[in-house]
Each structure stands twice: as C-alpha cells, then as structure tokens.
C-alpha cells in the first residue's frame, strides 16, 4: 500500500498558504494602532447657549434616532406637532426646523458621527438642511 500521508508539492502549498494568510490579514496589521479617533461633534453657539437639548445629553446621544422615529409618527399619524419634554419645555417636532435650528451645522454635528459610524440615515433625502437650501 502506498503511503498516502505524503503531501504533494509541500513547499509550494505551504508557501502559498503563508502568502494567503498574510494577504487576508493585511488590513488588520496594516491599520494596527491607527484607529481613527472618535469624532467630537461640534456644538453650534446656539446649541451651547441653550445648554439642554430635548432630553439630557446622554439620552440624546444614544436615543436620538428612537426619539426622531417617535416624533415622525406622532406628527404624521396623530397630527400632534408639539412635544413636551420631562421638564415641561415645549418643542415643535420638526427635524429641519427645530433640531437644525439649534444644531445649525449639520456637517459638523450630524454627519461627523454618522460618517465615523458608517451609518447613512435617509432623513436628508427628503428633509431639508435649511442651510443647504439657501
């Protein structure tokens, strides 16, 4: 019986495997230690002056998308356009006219993090950045 544990073309196969592993892991070790720093969204002067957003900063950071979804449903479906936050302050539920009224710089505020996190919310396909419209 022939010894079928013998590996044919051992040198070529192992060399090929080594090159393959190196190539496939290339992006990982090439970018090692070069992680882009988390962006710090820049607050506009108006937002700074307002001190508090609709909700506390931490909540806004993690839940602004849920809040916006809730807003759009209440505005479109229930025709209720005024939002009252826990501290009793009233807001007109509008992305273009309330959110962007304070956060004037969409590029510096929204896009910075969204680009970093590689999310592309489709809000802006319809909703207008008042600054761009001008």
């Amino acid at each position: 019986m022939p010894n079928n544990k013998k590996m044919y073309d051992k040198g070529k196969v192992v060399a090929g495997l080594c090159i393959f592993v190196v190539l496939i892991t290339f992006p990982f070790w090439f970018n090692l230690g070069k992680a882009a720093p988390a962006p710090e969204p820049k607050l506009s002067d108006k937002a700074k002056a307002a001190k508090e957003c609709v909700m506390p900063k931490a909540t806004m950071k993690t839940e602004h998308m849920q809040i916006l979804n809730e807003w759009r449903d209440t505005v479109v479906r229930d025709a209720k356009r005024i939002y009252t936050n826990p501290s009793g302050k009233k807001f007109n539920m509008s992305l273009s006219n309330t959110c962007l009224d304070c956060h004037v710089e969409k590029a510096e505020f929204c896009d910075k993090c969204h680009n970093y996190a590689s999310v592309t919310p489709y809000c802006w396909e319809c909703h207008i950045d008042p600054k761009e419209a001008k």
Partner: protein, 207 residues
C-alpha cells in the same frame, strides 16, 4: 371642500392657486409629461366629469378649466389597497401619506379613479425651482398627492389654495352641519367627480 367654478372661469384664475401649492410643497417641474407630479391642476369638463357629460353641454362649461385635486374620499380606495398603510385616513377625514412608509408599489395609483397620485420616477430635488425649507421634498420611488395642507391646518391656517382663491374655494368640516362648507352646500347645487364609483369624494363643484 367646495369649489365655486362660477368664480374660476379661465385657466388664469386657477394659476395663482396652483402656483402657491407647487411652491410651498416643493413640487418639481419635469419636462417629461410622464414624470409629472400633480397635487393641484386644471382639467376640462369631459375629463373631470366623465359619464356626467350631457349631450349638449353649454359652451362655458365645455371650454372651462376645472381645479382638480385629491378628493380625500370617504371610502378612499388608495387607503384600502396600500400594503404598508403608508396612505391612511386621519380621524378628521383627510387622506394623508406617510412618505417614510411608502415603498413605491403604486397600487394606490392604480386604485385612485381620479388620477390624483403621482410617482417620483426621478429624484425631484434638481427640478424644484425654489425650495421651501419648511416643507420636506420627496425622494425617488415614493408616491405623492395633495395633503389638504395638513401642515397649515396644524397651525390654524386654511389650505394655501383656499387662501389664494379669493373666496372661490370653501374649506371646512363636512360633518359639522353649522360649518361654512355645509352652508355653501345647502344653498347651491353641486356635483362630484365619478360619484357612481361609491368612493364618496369630499370635493364638491358648484357648476
């Protein structure tokens, strides 16, 4: 809504209303007729009231332009066929669209017997002359139609066309027997578009 066509004789009379509607709702103007977006537009008698055309229609009506818009039907077929409930009937009777939910299947366009719905075959943004930042545009792949100026009603204003009509248009609550529309309906003979279909259109025409 009641449209007094006696006060709107020519296409020029309709122009200011159509213009203001197009402007505040960011309605694009396409060269290609197939891509046209219509919220408020003009139509002649034979297209406006088919099957209701008498044999010897008087000349005034025959050559007149009628203001045409979504009828906000009582039993709206578009609401019934919408698979995602993007089109829905509000409690106050307005047939409204949630563009976020529209998947662009166009069942509603097939269902609407009035041609009140338009599809965005292209991105409308480059074709909007002046963008109104207070109202969103639409995106490619959604259907749209007249919303009876829901955004204006919310802040206590009349629809833009009513405001621009110099009293030719009356808008109000059809269920309230004391409302202005009901008073106008009580004292005038009105017709509706394709009433035999049973959709119950809410736009009445004094002819």
């Amino acid at each position: 809504m009641v449209i007094d066509t006696r006060k709107l004789q020519s296409e020029e009379d309709l122009e200011p209303m159509i213009e203001v509607c197009d402007k505040i709702h960011n309605i694009p103007k396409f060269e290609n007729k197939n891509h046209e977006i219509k919220w408020l537009w003009a139509e002649e008698f034979k297209h406006e009231f088919p099957m209701q055309e008498p044999d010897f229609l008087n000349d005034r009506l025959k050559h007149m332009s009628f203001l045409t818009l979504c009828n906000h039907c009582e039993k709206a077929p578009c609401v019934r066929v919408c698979p995602t409930k993007a089109t829905f009937k509000r409690e106050d009777g307005i047939v409204l669209m949630d563009f976020h939910r529209c998947i662009g299947c166009r069942f509603c366009m097939a269902a609407c017997p009035y041609g009140s719905r338009s599809f965005n075959f292209r991105d409308p943004r480059p074709f909007i002359k002046e963008t109104n930042p207070d109202f969103p545009t639409r995106t490619k792949g959604v259907v749209e139609k007249c919303n009876f100026c829901a955004e204006r009603l919310a802040v206590g204003k009349m629809p833009a066309c009513v405001e621009a009509s110099n009293g030719a248009l009356t808008f109000g609550d059809l269920d309230d027997s004391e409302s202005e529309v009901r008073k106008v309906l009580r004292s005038n003979y009105t017709i509706r578009r394709k009433p035999a279909l049973g959709t119950g259109p809410s736009v009445f025409y004094i002819v």
